[in-house]
């Protein structure tokens, strides 16, 4: 991997980020307010469907607070994945005309999604601080929170990027994957504890649920912000390790295939 070359193109990366952020909200009335609206509306729907109708337990956490981080983290992950897994298909016109390290494109998607994620985190903090002082119904552990939050962000981004890079090589070749992937991605959401707590999963299968790299991320988030329960360190470590491997595999395959892929697209 040619790091100095990547560095040379850092301006391009930032430019792509800028393009995504500006172009996405052109000719919309509410503009960037959508960044706030999307998680809020989703949370509200989950609250109605899963909280009120299906009466899914929330581990004693106030429902709004319970759903919001899961929604934000899931959105971050799925947008990273969705953005990067079509790298070749959606940039054919540029890749066919100009050379630059192709990795710049998926990296820029992760950065611009991180910006959105950061803004949504601010929204979450606002809700969180309100609960902290108005209802006193949360029990945060400050030090682990500060230490672990960056790690959780990185694991989520790396999971999205790593799997996106791997898949991007195949979506270019086999177009059918598109349909399958969108379907699988929707199913996968329910494999992560977004609308339910892990404690609701039967003891026998709980281990499987923890193997999903997103499970420790979301559960750790809830522990350090809301319940103050001890973090399941062993599962978090497994998650970090598996995601690192995935990212490495994704980068290697992407780098190896980036030129050949353009001949068959």
């Amino acid at each position: 991997m040619n790091l100095s070359e990547l560095w040379h193109y850092k301006d391009l990366l930032l430019r792509f980020v800028r393009r995504d952020l500006i172009a996405n909200y052109q000719q919309t009335i509410l503009g960037p307010i959508w960044i706030f609206l999307q998680p809020l509306l989703t949370t509200f729907v989950y609250y109605l469907v899963f909280g009120k109708i299906a009466k899914v337990k929330t581990d004693g956490i106030s429902p709004l607070l319970f759903y919001l981080p899961g929604v934000i983290i899931w959105t971050f992950f799925s947008e990273c994945l969705n953005g990067t897994m079509y790298t070749f298909l959606s940039n054919t016109h540029i890749f066919n005309k100009v050379y630059f390290p192709r990795l710049i494109v998926p990296l820029s998607i992760v950065v611009s999604q991180s910006v959105r994620f950061g803004i949504q985190l601010l929204l979450f903090f606002a809700v969180f601080v309100f609960h902290l002082f108005a209802y006193h119904d949360v029990n945060p552990s400050i030090l682990p929170m500060l230490l672990l939050l960056p790690l959780l962000v990185c694991v989520t981004a790396a999971f999205g990027l790593g799997s996106g890079l791997l898949i991007s090589v195949f979506t270019a070749r086999y177009r059918d994957l598109d349909y399958a992937l969108q379907f699988l991605l929707r199913l996968f959401m329910y494999a992560a504890p977004i609308v339910y707590p892990v404690s609701m999963v039967p003891e026998k299968y709980r281990f499987l649920c923890w193997l999903n790299p997103l499970t420790p991320v979301i559960e750790t988030f809830r522990s350090v912000f809301f319940t103050g329960k001890p973090v399941e360190v062993q599962y978090l470590l497994i998650s970090v390790a598996s995601v690192s491997l995935l990212l490495l595999a994704g980068m290697v395959l992407f780098k190896k295939r980036e030129v050949q892929v353009m001949d068959i697209i």
Partner: protein, 441 residues
């Protein structure tokens, strides 16, 4: 002597065309299986394989776009590439610009490469001209600081200052191209690769771009690789030229002679071209060519165009502009060396949409023997160039002379029969004549 900056050794490029579909997965799996379990030995009953790829010509869906291409380019040299569509020029430029890799062979380049295989790569309609200058510049490998330093120059060159903060989707296609080219013209890579981008824009802007390119190569010592169908531009800009045909180099060297050879070899193709499929006919959203032909009025059964032969140029095209306006069609005749012999045009005619026919007669006893080509230009309202159909016809004029006249080569591109009259003057005494002259002084 001078430093070699690009060297290509036996580059070949293999493409498998078409065949997307359900067979893909099966074939991929079979290939993978073969590679894994049959390495080193040729499986019986399988098709012939050359370096792991089928040999050329085994299947219509398989193609060697390039075959055994070798060349070197030194620092500061401008190299032109000529060839018909599909000859492999673009594939070759893509390999040099690292967009794709050769299937076999090696290419080495030294220095930063910027490729202009189209203008305005990555332009985003929603962004303003200003944002797009930065976006396009970054994509082409410029750094933010470089662009900032040249920003005013770029805007100035494009000539669209007043629209710089308008989203480019609101631009006319002309403005779009001007802005895109302005960014490209201010690139400063060591190696610049240009693919027919000059086929865009109005002629004044084209001249400006050519001038800029010349400046880049001569004053700044940049290496330029350049594909064009504009023989005049190639001849003016390049120090060397390469002719590609079906993926192979068929000629390389001094541009004037290489271009002459190319046009001569192409000539039979150019006496008549008819375009039955409007989708693929030359043209654009205003003009779509249907037919161009050169009809010689042969003096005898030999059917050879010689200096006596009147030549009738006929063309048909679909005029796609709805609102009425004046249309002028001009015919440009060039000598094979690129010198323009004449530029003549129809009068202003107002047409609606539809098929339009035209013709132009070059009388006999006008051209000298040699090779010529013709371009047709379509102009609207006397200023807007709708379409320039370049080098659409080319032909050779053979020598013809009555016995007994001059045997050497007639010089000049034309050989008109303007009367040169000789008559005998008054019979005067030379001494008288001399004295008359001296007295008048």
């Amino acid at each position: 002597m001078s430093e070699i900056i690009i060297s290509a050794e036996n580059i070949s490029k293999y493409y498998r065309l078409g065949t997307m579909g359900s067979g893909r997965l099966k074939e991929d799996f079979r290939n993978w299986f073969d590679k894994r379990f049959y390495t080193g030995r040729q499986p019986a009953g399988r098709r012939s394989v050359e370096n792991g790829y089928p040999s050329p010509g085994t299947d219509a869906s398989e193609l060697w776009a390039l075959k055994d291409i070798s060349f070197e380019v030194s620092r500061g040299e401008v190299m032109g590439f000529i060839g018909r569509n599909g000859a492999g020029k673009s594939t070759l430029l893509k390999i040099v610009s690292r967009i794709t890799m050769p299937t076999t062979g090696h290419i080495r380049g030294r220095g930063r490469v910027a490729s202009l295989l189209e203008v305005g790569t990555g332009f985003h309609g929603e962004l303003t001209g200003r944002e797009n200058i930065f976006l396009n510049g970054n994509i082409l490998g410029m750094k933010k600081k470089e662009i900032e330093a040249k920003f005013d120059e770029i805007v100035d060159f494009s000539g669209i200052e007043s629209f710089i903060d308008t989203p480019v989707k609101r631009y006319s296609s002309g403005m779009y191209v001007r802005l895109a080219f302005a960014v490209a013209a201010h690139l400063e890579p060591e190696i610049l690769i240009i693919d027919e981008v000059l086929a865009v824009g109005d002629s004044e802007f084209q001249r400006k771009c050519l001038g800029k390119m010349k400046e880049v190569s001569t004053q700044k010592g940049k290496t330029v690789l350049f594909v064009s169908h504009n023989m005049q531009a190639l001849k003016n800009l390049c120090q060397r030229a390469i002719v590609l045909q079906k993926g192979r180099i068929v000629a390389m060297g001094d541009p004037a002679s290489v271009i002459a050879g190319y046009l001569r070899q192409e000539k039979t193709q150019f006496l008549v071209s008819e375009f039955t499929d409007p989708m693929h006919a030359p043209g654009n959203e205003y003009i779509r060519m249907k037919k161009v032909e050169l009809v010689p009025e042969y003096p005898d059964a030999a059917e050879i165009i010689d200096t006596r032969t009147p030549l009738l140029i006929r063309f048909e095209f679909s005029y796609l502009v709805e609102d009425p306006g004046d249309l002028i069609v001009g015919v440009h005749l060039f000598h094979i060396t690129g010198d323009c012999i004449f530029d003549t045009a129809s009068g202003k005619v107002s047409f609606g949409e539809g098929l339009i026919k035209g013709e132009c007669l070059i009388p006999g006893n006008f051209l000298n023997d040699g090779s010529y080509y013709i371009s047709i230009v379509f102009v609207r309202n006397t200023t807007i160039r709708l379409f320039y159909f370049e080098s659409c016809l080319s032909f050779d004029v053979e020598d013809y002379r009555e016995s007994g006249s001059w045997y050497g080569k007639w010089i000049g591109h034309v050989r008109p029969l303007f009367p040169v009259r000789l008559s005998r003057g008054e019979n005067v005494d030379p001494s008288n004549d001399l004295s008359r002259n001296s007295s008048s002084r």
